[in-house]
Structures are given as C-alpha cells and as structure tokens.
C-alpha cells in the first residue's frame, strides 16, 4: 500500500520552465507568428515561444517518451498540453524553433491549431473504452481531421472554431457549446429488456427515476420494467443505471450534428449549440456522410461569415432559415424542440427574411 494517500497532484510550480517562473503574471502581450507558433512577451522584455502540435490524444508511452525527447532537446525538459489535447513545446531560444518544428513534424504531429486555424477536436472514448457509445470517438475524429487537415495548418477561417464529439448523450466530453458538435445518438427504445437479470443488476426506483420523460413503468408480470415506447427519446440514461436495458443498435445508432454554440463571452453571450442534422449513419472506418456534412457546414460558414464571427454569431445575423438554405440541410419536424426548454425556442416575432 502507498505510504501516504491524498497527496493530490504535484504542485504545478515544480513543472514551470524558468522563463515562466520569472514572468508569472506579468506577461504583456502575445502574437501569433505563424500557424502553431506563439510569441509571448513579458513586462521584463523576456520572450517565450510556444510551438503547438496536434495529437490523437490516445498515446502509447513510447510516443510520450518521443515527445519528451524533443522537449529535452529544445525546451530544457518542459512542456504542456492544452485543454484540446494539443502538445505545447515551450522555449526561449529563437534559433531552436525551426529544428524543433521539423522534429515534431517528423514524429507525425502537425504544427498549427492557433488563431483562425481549426484546432483539435475534443472527443470521448467511443468503442475503444466505453459501454454506452452510439458511435466511435477516435475513428470519427481521425476521419474528419484527415479531411480538414489543411484548416489545422492554415489560418483561413473567419474566427476560431471549436469542433467536438461526444459518443453518446451522457456527453462525458461536453460538446453542447461548440461551433460544430457531433453526438452519437440512439433512435430506438431499449426494448430488449433482460428480465432474467433485471433484479440482479438493477433497482426499480433508480431505473424509473433515471428517465427524463417518465417512459419506464414497473412490470409486475416479469418482475422487471417495461418501456412506453412513444415517450422514449432514447437518451440512454436508463442503461447507464441499469445494464438490463441495452440500447446499442447497429443499424439505428448514428450521429447528430449541432452548430453555433460557444463558451467565450466575446461580443455575444455563451450559448448552446442547436440541431443542424438529426441523424447520419455510422459508417466505419471513415464515416463519409458525417465527414461530408461537417465539411459542408464549415465551408459554407467560411464562405459567408464576416471576419471575427463565430458560427453562432454568423447564424444569428443571417438567421436560421438562411443557414438551412445556404447549407442545403433539410429542416424537418425533428428540428423543433419538444424537451425542457422547447417553448422558449418558438418564433415570437414577424421579423422574417423573405
């Protein structure tokens, strides 16, 4: 047993390079010198360069060691990661920048993801390591980033863009405030109830309470539960609390796409992403329908938005009917909300574009 417990993480101050220690809290400004290269200047006049590289998040320890070897060679053994899985190499010697970039690229990691470049797609575990997904995580992301690679290494978008993926509605990787959000969804109720194991694996009250729409009822005949199918919207929350209610379905699970969310307070308020595409099929290994839909939305946005305008700001300005017209995405009755905040989303003005 460990000699001590509850030691918490190492103090971050032990992980900071000297230039950060001496300029902590006194940085003056920054600029993006080129895609993936940041320059921060302190009040002291000190300069810190950051080289940002995209990663697949899933890393073997030998790859982590390769990354460490680069950080040892150029950065005195210091590095960090961003909240979106990018690796950041921190250095002060301008002459080392280009050789560092070359080594990072030779390792297979693209340098970019800053400013108006597309940054990495955050995502969840998917089929690699989870029991509830309605789609994969890493595979869909790999397919999209292969297609949108140029946007990662070239700053050609109107503003910063955040794409995120969650492989089910639990959204352990939250996506609901992203410019483009992908979520794995089920479209059939969990009717293959394992009555035999229900009482062994599940509790009736917990299972009933897990349903946001009250679609789960007791079933005295089977000593289990039954699903009122017309009420179920397939969120999968019941399966999370009760393994006897499997919901995964090879043909009917798929991916929904939401757009226009953001977390930054810049210009406009943070807002949730809204439904653009209700369902696309799971088509591994490259999910061409999903990749095509994301690319279409991104490119229509890039063509029409003004400089500095996030996806949601652009849609707000041109209005939603125009978004559907420009992207060619059909508007269906599935786009009309019928969940907890539904009535707040119905149009209450005659201000309509013709």
């Amino acid at each position: 047993m460990a000699k001590k417990t509850d030691i918490g993480p190492p103090d971050f101050r032990k992980m900071l390079p000297p230039v950060i220690k001496s300029n902590y809290g006194t940085w003056k400004y920054h600029e993006i010198l080129k895609p993936g290269l940041l320059k921060h200047v302190g009040e002291s006049g000190d300069v810190l360069y950051t080289v940002r590289a995209g990663s697949p998040r899933l890393l073997d320890v030998d790859t982590v060691r390769d990354i460490c070897a680069i950080a040892d060679k150029y950065c005195d053994g210091y590095l960090r990661f961003t909240s979106r899985y990018n690796i950041e190499f921190l250095l002060t010697d301008e002459r080392k920048i280009e050789p560092l970039i070359k080594d990072v690229q030779e390792l297979g990691f693209p340098v970019g993801g800053t400013g108006t470049c597309l940054t990495n797609i955050t995502h969840t575990q998917g089929w690699i390591h989870c029991h509830t997904p309605a789609t994969d995580g890493s595979g869909v992301v790999k397919a999209i980033m292969d297609e949108l690679y140029d946007y990662f290494v070239t700053p050609k978008l109107p503003a910063k863009i955040r794409i995120s993926l969650a492989c089910c509605g639990n959204m352990c990787g939250p996506i609901y405030c992203s410019d483009i959000a992908l979520v794995g969804i089920h479209t059939k109720p969990p009717t293959r109830i394992d009555d035999k194991n229900f009482s062994k694996w599940c509790e009736v009250p917990t299972t009933l309470a897990s349903c946001p729409t009250g679609a789960i009822k007791r079933n005295p005949e089977t000593n289990s539960v039954r699903i009122q199918e017309e009420k179920c919207m397939y969120c999968g929350n019941c399966y999370t609390v009760c393994p006897a209610l499997p919901i995964a379905d090879a043909e009917h699970d798929g991916v929904a796409i939401f757009v226009g969310g953001k977390v930054s307070n810049s210009r406009t308020r943070p807002r949730l992403s809204k439904l653009a595409v209700p369902w696309l099929p799971n088509n591994p290994p490259r999910w061409p329908e999903v990749v095509g839909a994301v690319k279409n939305i991104l490119e229509v946005y890039a063509e029409h938005a003004r400089k500095g305008e996030r996806v949601g700001d652009w849609i707000e300005r041109v209005t939603w009917p125009t978004f559907f017209k420009l992207t060619g995405i059909p508007f269906t009755d599935q786009h009309i909300d019928d969940f907890t905040n539904a009535i707040l989303t119905y149009r209450t003005t005659t201000q309509i574009k013709s």
Binding site: W27, F81, N341
Partner: protein
C-alpha cells in the same frame, strides 16, 4: 503473406492526421492487452456496437473513486482485455509537465498496464487506459510513492478541478487560475477521492471571460476572471494595428456589444466609456498588443453549468459578479461548503445542482447559501405576477 486481422482499423493508419491506430499497434508490440484491444475494436468497427460491459466496482484501498471498471463482453475471444480498467491520474494545474515527471508515469504504466494513455481525458485527468484488476493497487502505490501523483475523481465525487493556462502564459489572466485550481484540489482531496453526494460536482477556473476551459458550460461552480476598472489602452499600439490595415471602425468599434468604444480617426485615438464596458474581451482579443484588461481584477462566480443528462444542458448562472480571489480563498471555499450542504440535503440520485435549483427555485437556493438577490443574477426579471410572498 497473411491477411490483416484488422482491415477496417488499418484504413485509419492512413491519412495526414496522427493515427490512434498506430498508437495502439505500437503498444501492442509489448502488451497483449493492447493487441486484444485492437482486435475488439475491429469487431466494433464490423458490427457497429460497443463491446464493453458496465463497469464493476474496482479501486484502491481507502478511495472510492479514481478507477473506472471496464470488462469485455467477449472475454473468450479477447482474454487480455477481460478486465481492462481505466485509472484517472490528477494532472498538475494547467497541464504543465517536466519530462522527468512524464517519464516516471510512463515507466510505471508500462510496468503495470497496457501502456496506452490519454493526454488528457475530458475532465482533465491523465488517463491510463487498460489495467488488470490486480495491477491497480501496485500501480497506484508506485504513482504515489515514486512519481508523486495521485488519483483524480470519478463517480459521485468532486471531479478533478481544472484551469486554463492562466498567469503562467497569458496576459489576459485576471485571477491566478492555476493557484486556485491547485489550492482547491489540495483542500478538497477527501471530496475528490470518496463519494459523498448524489452525483458529480465540477469546478473549473478560467482566467478571463474567454473561458478557455469552458467553465460556464461544464462546471457546477465556475470561476471566471474579470476586472471592474477601465481596460488599458496603448494608443501607439492601436495605431500600429490601424497602420497594418485593420479597419478599426468595422472590426472593433462597431463590434463592441455595448457601444463603449469610439475611434477618433484624425487624432488616432481610441477612447473607452468604461462605465459602458461589459468586459467581453472582443476588442482585447483582436488587439492583444494594444489593449489589456484593467488592474482591479477579480472573478465572476457562476453556478449550475452541466451536460444534457438528465433534464438538459445548462450554462452556469451568475451568483457573484465580482469576488476578489486571494489565497487562501476562504470566502469561496465557505460558499462551496454551503452549496454542498444544501445540495447534499435535498438532491435526488443523479441530480446535479442546477437541476435541484430548477426544482426548488433559485430563491430557495439563495436563502440556503446566504446570498442576496441582485439584478446581475438574471437576464431579466420575471414577467408573471405569480409571486411567493
């Protein structure tokens, strides 16, 4: 030549973006678990469903969280992932590392597990992906004793707090997001490691209103840096942007949400009506070499950000517009304890604090935690006359 057993995944070794399949194969050269992981994933790619079962209870002595049980539903075909658990390791604030610390983690993980990692998981932890049940305790022991790392949160606990890069490398930082994160993490170790509550609780700290860790969306309690005096303008810096071709009227002045900026083209001067500014960051983001936040800095505190389960996703609601954040952060910690007491007392199973506030009302919440109602808490007052007196 023998035919590949993973044709679908092999396809994802191609392409310009770095491949997770290559990573699994690299681990597979040493580790049988990683090889079986690849095989089971290929099966998922063929039949389009997951092949993991619900997690069972696994963990380390004295803790109730930090390890997520994971079992294959096809252990006969893939015996080396029959038990393939996840260990969450609490990252240092801001995800800063020395290579020495990373190498220690790699060596320990190679010895006890699959060698596969995530840098990082969604909440911010280092994820060690794939340990056998009997390996968890020795792996944990070495992480603590030899590498100085500890577990993060899982299940109904305080999840691992996280923070943006903050004052370590950002001139926008209005609070010391890294120190606050580290301080909270150390103070609340017991809440992180032992399930106390009806569901999870998340804390995230962003240095400025750009909110790079998405605290307003993700955190039950969000700390977002801000300021209340005038933002600082370097007029020469402004003119330099204009000289380089920026249309300051169109890109900055007319984009200001509260019309707080004016540009005098003749004099080359940008002026600010400080009382109109809502500290949104737009002009600063566009001209970081000329504009900076003010000097009277603090944080806005918000409650209730969460994902869709169960009653829908919620953005955080403002509780305190401007709270000074100085160590040891006594005031905010006392508020957290009050919030947890009330939530713990009233919440149903799997009810996040936002959902409890929706069920019982923000007024009840404010009374319970001792905060006065102020207009900054709402976008607008109520529009109905059904008022409780």
């Amino acid at each position: 030549m023998s035919k590949s057993e993973t044709p679908k995944l092999d396809e994802l070794e191609k392409g310009r973006w770095p491949s997770f399949v290559k990573e699994i194969k690299r681990a597979g050269k040493r580790n049988a678990g990683a090889r079986d992981l690849l095989g089971q994933l290929e099966l998922s790619y063929q039949d389009k469903i997951p092949h993991w079962k619900h997690g069972g209870v696994v963990g380390v002595k004295g803790y109730g969280g930090g390890v997520i049980g994971r079992y294959s539903d096809s252990p006969d075909r893939f015996p080396n992932v029959a038990a393939f658990h996840t260990i969450r390791v609490n990252m240092p604030s801001g995800w800063f590392y020395t290579t020495e610390s990373l190498r220690k983690i790699c060596d320990i993980w190679e010895k006890h597990g699959s060698g596969l990692t995530n840098f990082h998981g969604s909440t911010g932890d280092i994820i060690l992906l794939g340990a056998r049940t009997e390996s968890i305790q020795p792996c944990f022991d070495e992480l603590v004793d030899e590498a100085g790392f500890d577990l993060g949160g899982s299940s109904s606990v305080l999840r691992t707090p996280s923070a943006c890069v903050g004052p370590a490398r950002c001139e926008y930082a209005c609070v010391d997001s890294l120190d606050i994160c580290n301080d909270f993490t150390q103070t609340f170790q017991n809440y992180i490691h032992r399930p106390h509550w009806a569901y999870k609780f998340k804390i995230k700290i962003s240095g400025c209103p750009n909110d790079c860790v998405a605290s307003i969306a993700r955190a039950d309690l969000a700390v977002i840096g801000t300021w209340r005096d005038a933002l600082r303008i370097d007029q020469a810096g402004v003119r330099a942007y204009v000289d380089r071709g920026m249309d300051i009227e169109k890109e900055i002045v007319r984009q200001c949400p509260t019309e707080a900026l004016e540009w005098d083209a003749k004099g080359g001067t940008l002026s600010l009506k400080a009382e109109e500014c809502v500290k949104c960051m737009h002009c600063i983001n566009r001209m970081p070499k000329a504009l900076r936040p003010g000097k009277d800095k603090a944080a806005t505190i918000l409650i209730g950000g969460k994902g869709p389960m169960v009653r829908g996703a919620r953005l955080g609601w403002v509780l305190i517009p401007f709270m000074k954040m100085e160590p040891p952060y006594t005031e905010i910690k006392a508020l957290l304890e009050n919030i947890w007491d009330w939530w713990d007392e009233h919440a149903h199973t799997r009810e996040r604090v936002a959902e409890l506030i929706e069920r019982l009302g923000l007024r009840a919440f404010l009374k319970a935690v001792g905060l006065p109602a102020i207009p900054e808490m709402v976008l607008e007052p109520r529009s109905n006359a059904f008022i409780y007196f």
